[in-house]
Symmetry: D5
Subunit: 93 residues, 10 copies
């Protein structure tokens, strides 16, 4: 089941730089694990923004929430979730 998720990141300016870097590193590892597992299908950077647009392929709303809630940067994110369905014009459908 597919979802489009837009994440915007706003790290507080006074966050300890070491903690900041460690959190970003954990975020990358966390994302790449899920990409390798097939649940995080696409991740694109929005040009000029500290934001990404991602496509998730998970079994349920429950699992989507578990993944997003677990993001190391979650506390600093604004997240927008759009559940997706097959489009009637999709040639792969």
């Amino acid at each position: 089941m597919l979802y489009a998720v837009k994440m915007h990141v706003a790290i507080p300016h006074d966050l300890d730089p070491a903690e900041r870097d460690a959190t970003i590193a954990r975020e990358k590892a966390y994302s790449q694990d899920l990409q390798r597992g097939g649940e995080w299908r696409h991740i694109w950077r929005c040009a000029g923004q500290y934001s990404n647009i991602s496509i998730f392929d998970v079994e349920s709303n429950e699992r989507l929430h578990e993944i997003l809630w677990g993001l190391p940067l979650f506390a600093y994110m604004t997240v927008e979730v759009t559940p997706l369905a097959t489009h009637p014009s999709d040639i792969h459908a």
Copy 2:
């Protein structure tokens, strides 16, 4: 070069039903041609909305505009364009 495009469709209620159906049929053919050509990479329906989220892979802003401007339903659409770049966490990058 990738772009995320969100299209929301609002067909006027008093549009002639035959014209409406013909326009929707032309929209489908137009989209499928571009999907087969590789420029319209993904199209998903937003669940519960007369909207889609699409990913385009085109050579320029110019070409993206040409495609979107030519949509048979363009006059009835609200369109939001987000130029995309590679995300540093993308395992395929």
Copy 3:
């Protein structure tokens, strides 16, 4: 799988009254069938609004879209979909 859906209805003022009434009657029958089938779990009127807040329990985003797209009043609605997950404080979870 649960979803909260807010629907706001704006029927055009110049719609033929007979068509208007017939569409509203079909909407009611359509909703009640899905309530009896267990997929449309709750429907509440927002006080003072031509709007409702509903809870759907369906197997997928796909099925949710199919139901909402088929609403007789869909063309006149603004729809907002929120996918739901279990809350850690829920005593029934």
Copy 4:
């Protein structure tokens, strides 16, 4: 009398972690007491958000305010209240 309430939580990043955890624990106990008492009828997590959608069944606006005002996390919440009425399509009405 029913109300839909959407709560969005934004805990300040510099809050003492012990105070943070204690407040969240008190919030959970507070919510579960009201759920057991029947006034807090439903609580769902919005997938991907630090937010919930809840349904309250209380005797008055006064009582609803007393409950929400007393939430241990209230100072960190944005709250949206929608008073509900019976929907004419509700098969249980």
Copy 5:
């Protein structure tokens, strides 16, 4: 139980003038009946707007909805409902 209700009226420009005047006359009578009955406690015109701010004193959300839904101008209104509670600074509380 008190509610603040803001109503904004936008009558379609092409409404038949006779129907327009008759509806406004019925709205006035409807409002004045409820004022005399004590449920519509206050009605003020927002200066420079085709809007009013009103205070209702009714027994339930259900009754509030019944009153607002029955407004002769309801189809042309945008309505905003705020349930009210006693303020701790109110000298009359």
Copy 6:
């Protein structure tokens, strides 16, 4: 001359608790003085919000500003002012 005023309070989380409590106490006394003097005609709590809707009856914009500017919590408030006029349906007008 009447005005509807909506005040939303957001006290900074790091304000000294003693100063916080003293300011709230002064706000209450300030409001009650003006209520007794007849200029602050109504004050209602918005259910579930740290907000109030108030009705002021003052001789001028100047006086309204003087009152609001002097609120002990003014620095922490978002204030929305709506000048009011007599509504043609008001039975007391």
Copy 7:
């Protein structure tokens, strides 16, 4: 007593041109009468908009509403009213 009023005009495209021109002519005469009377102190066109920013000097909210409600173009306007007070930096105060 001063008020800043922003008016934005949106005349329906299908309004009869003769009625349109007559209404605009009446609007001009109406405004100029009030300017000559001293109540409509300033009127400026917002560059590039079918909008104006005006300053009114009237005795009450009641009178302001009477003037704005009587505007020949009122039905086609969006109006925003800001009650004004003396600024402590004003050298003329």
Copy 8:
């Protein structure tokens, strides 16, 4: 003196096609005259939108308004004006 102007065009769906085409043709001629005269310095299409971003170089607000008000498509446009000044980082300043 420079201004950035964003124009969004929404031609009514029921406008007579001949009038529509004639108006668009007049708009083009009008724009090109001003480009040749040096006052309309740049015009770019926003990709995927019936919108443009333009830069005007005119002697006054008055002249800017005269130009925009005279646009053949003005009645169908939403216009946003940003007055510009020299940026301290501009190497041409």
Copy 9:
């Protein structure tokens, strides 16, 4: 050349009170100098807000920016600029 400028002030709560008072005093002197010089034609307080609406009469966008950028409170302000032109109904035009 005229401009309407709306300034909203939000001084950080933790600003040193002496610096705060000194900045406000400098703001007042700065404004009054420009009022005496004729460039800052009007300044009004928005009733109930830490905001003002001002009218500037300056020779260019450049000069307007220089004045606003130099405001002692500029760092704490949200500023909205509307370039003005003569209104065709203005009796003084």
Copy 10:
């Protein structure tokens, strides 16, 4: 390939003044290098705002993102990107 980019800067009030000045100086140098290189074609100050409107001419979304992400003030900016295409009325096209 052209892009319009609007940048709004909000430097935190508690940033160390020396760091603040150094960052602004690096921003200026960074911008001027790109202007000299031809990729940053225009930069204008929005009058009365800590904002600029810029035109970039770069080979791809990827390059645009690299430039903007590298801005010394990026962490303090809100950025809005509009991909541009040739306008059919452009006399230089």
